[in-house]
Amino acid sequence: MQLTWLWRGLRTGVLTTRYPRRPERMPDGWRGTAVLQRDQCVVEGAPPSCVTVCLPRALSVEETGGDRRLRLDHAACIACGLCVAACPRGALSISNEFELAASSRARLISEHRPKGDRAA
């Protein structure tokens, strides 16, 4: 019986891939990292609809003075895609990227101000 298993294992061969030496791509439509389009977001609504539907509170609005910024914390994001459907301007999308490792937590935060405010 052990020989049967051995034979089966040898016949199957090596199925493991060379990742990360050889990059792997997830299929299109797979829900990976959320992407915030810098020039599309206007931080509309209080709170914006994307913030309302975000279960892990990965999306939030930071207000300093009159300046409103949408903040996306990739460390908290569960890539559910609900914000994509909620955004009326198509400013949020889901990519099939999955490599999120970063050397600091700050690098996992995307922060975008509405168009026109960026000079400040």
């Binding site: 019986m1 051995l6 797979w30």
Partner: protein, 527 residues
């Protein structure tokens, strides 16, 4: 050791007919809460003391199965107790309900003929502070407060210099095993007692489910236990749909069954891989893991998520599958099915594997019935229960899946049931692909997401996951907000029996095999 309040002489109450002691009840609900889909769920307000008699009067009472017991803290300070029973002969559920005062007592149902209620009552003791009078071990089940030993009285501190050895195992363990703690007590090789401590994965999911906007409930529910995501989200969606009175189109129901069976299939393959790993059958472990990975990659292609998260929404499914996706399902599942079938024969004739499984961790039919276990654990002990057959949902009224029931009750029987069910799930997926090619496209129905939930109403949903039946119960308050969200996971229903079947005839090296043969989830149980 009973709680001081548990002494009937000290129980605050009033006498009713015949001088019988009453407990601190407020008043029975008398069915005050309307229930959606009354054809499936019958709700009765009845004094707790009369519940055992009510069940004894039930026609075909031998087939009545304990399903759940939980409490709801009412805003006015009382606690509503609900006993949920499955009536498989008619495909219905029966819920009995009574109200007692908070922090008060009630007659234990363990003493009243529902031994399975033991852990449920201990859970309520910890979370709601209500005391079951007559309970054999009235101590909280919650983490840090008490332990879930097979026999708590026996698990006394060790005498110095004895031959008894305690092995602590967990909560942090090697590999990707979830957090749970076992105290294994041995004399020589033999396990004489097992202490099981749950709660390390408690995240307050029920409270979270009650707080989120209701259309998002399936998204939270699928995270109760990742490998039961489809079953939990289907049960959550079912509960809300019954509450709203929403009908799900046929094609959406078929797709739900398809996703449910894919989830069962990868779980059964993963289960066999882990069981083969426990017995040291390394090539078989790799072979089953390959099959599991193929299904997970298929799920990533067709649904955008390896564990099929996001597929079930209230009212139907998130996205339809086109012909290309259906072809992908067929072309992936067919070779997986054939490989699975070939592995069944190989596993069955691997003596080193079977030797470790046979007579290991035996759960008798009597014990399985006593603790109302569900899923493959129940079916491996000869208990023929399966929500897909007993309470058809999704497309199972037309599919009629075959039940795989064996009598052994040992690890070998549990493995056999899950081998057969894996193959059956693959066959069901292939059948569903053909049916989906014929069925009418998804109608463009208005999403129910903008609707408000009716006030003071109950919705109840269920689904048969790979580990058994997941139950979701939703109650709304007067304003239509979710006042109580209750989840009874299949794992919770089975852990209780697991703690009982380990001590006795098993030796220490059997433990990982018994644990793996049950294949339960801590996260699902802890919520």
């Amino acid at each position: 050791m009973l709680h001081p309040d548990a002494d009937p002489a000290r129980v605050r109450g009033h006498s009713r007919g015949g001088g019988a002691t009453s407990f601190s009840r407020i008043e029975p609900l008398a069915g005050a809460i309307p229930v959606s889909a009354t054809a499936e769920l019958e709700l009765e307000g009845l004094a707790i003391a009369e519940w055992p008699d009510r069940v004894r009067r039930q026609t075909h009472r031998e087939s009545v199965m304990f399903a759940d017991l939980f409490g709801t803290a009412d805003p006015d300070g009382g606690v509503s107790l609900t006993l949920l029973l499955s009536l498989p002969d008619g495909g219905r559920w029966l819920a009995l309900r009574d109200r007692i005062e908070a922090e008060s007592t009630y007659p234990s149902l363990v003493a009243g003929g529902f031994p399975a209620a033991e852990w449920y009552e201990r859970e309520m003791l910890g979370s709601l502070g209500i005391h079951p009078v007559g309970h054999p071990h009235p101590e909280s089940l919650l983490r840090g407060a008490a332990l879930a030993s097979a026999d708590m009285a026996r698990f006394a501190p060790l005498p110095a210099g004895g031959h008894v050895v305690d092995f602590p195992l967990g909560p942090v363990r090697s590999g990707i095993v979830e957090s749970g703690h076992y105290g294994i007590r041995t004399v020589g090789e033999e396990i004489v007692d097992l202490r099981l401590q749950l709660g390390f994965k408690h995240r307050g999911v029920e409270q979270m489910l009650a707080a989120v906007a209701w259309p998002l409930a399936p998204r939270v529910a699928e995270r109760i236990s990742g490998t039961d995501g489809v079953a939990h989200s289907m049960a959550a969606a079912g509960a809300l749909e019954r509450l709203l009175g929403v009908d799900v189109p046929l094609r959406a129901r078929q797709l739900r069954s398809l996703f449910g069976e894919l989830e069962r299939l990868y779980n059964h393959a993963g289960y066999q891989a882990d069981l083969c790993g426990a017995t040291g059958l390394a090539v078989a472990q790799a072979q089953f893991d390959i099959l599991k990975e193929q299904i997970l990659r298929l799920a990533a292609r067709i649904a955008g998520h390896r564990y099929l998260f996001g597929t079930i929404v209230v009212g139907g499914v998130a996205d339809d599958l086109d012909d290309a996706a259906l072809n992908d399902v067929r072309d992936t599942v067919r070779p997986v099915r054939d490989a699975f079938e070939a592995l069944i024969d190989l596993v069955a004739t691997s003596s080193s594997h079977q030797d470790r499984l046979q007579t290991t961790g035996r759960l008798t039919l009597e014990e399985a019935t006593r603790y109302a276990v569900v899923g493959p654990v129940a079916r491996a002990s000869g208990l023929a229960v399966d929500a897909r057959r007993d309470h058809p949902y999704a497309a199972y009224d037309a599919l009629r899946p075959t039940l795989h029931v064996v009598d052994g009750g040992d690890a070998a029987a549990r493995s056999q049931v899950r081998l057969e069910e894996g193959l059956a799930s693959a066959d069901l997926v292939l059948d569903l692909v053909e049916e989906l090619r014929e069925s009418a496209p998804l109608p463009a129905l208005p999403s129910p997401a903008s609707r408000t939930l009716p006030g003071d109403t109950v919705g109840f949903g269920w689904a048969e996951g790979a580990r058994g039946t997941e139950l979701h119960w939703v109650e709304t308050d007067r304003a239509g907000a979710i006042g109580r969200y209750r989840v009874r996971s299949a794992s919770f229903a089975c852990w209780q029996a697991f703690a009982r079947c380990v001590p006795g005839d098993n030796i220490l090296t059997d433990f990982p095999i018994i644990e793996q043969s049950f294949g339960l989830s801590f996260a699902g149980s802890d919520r």
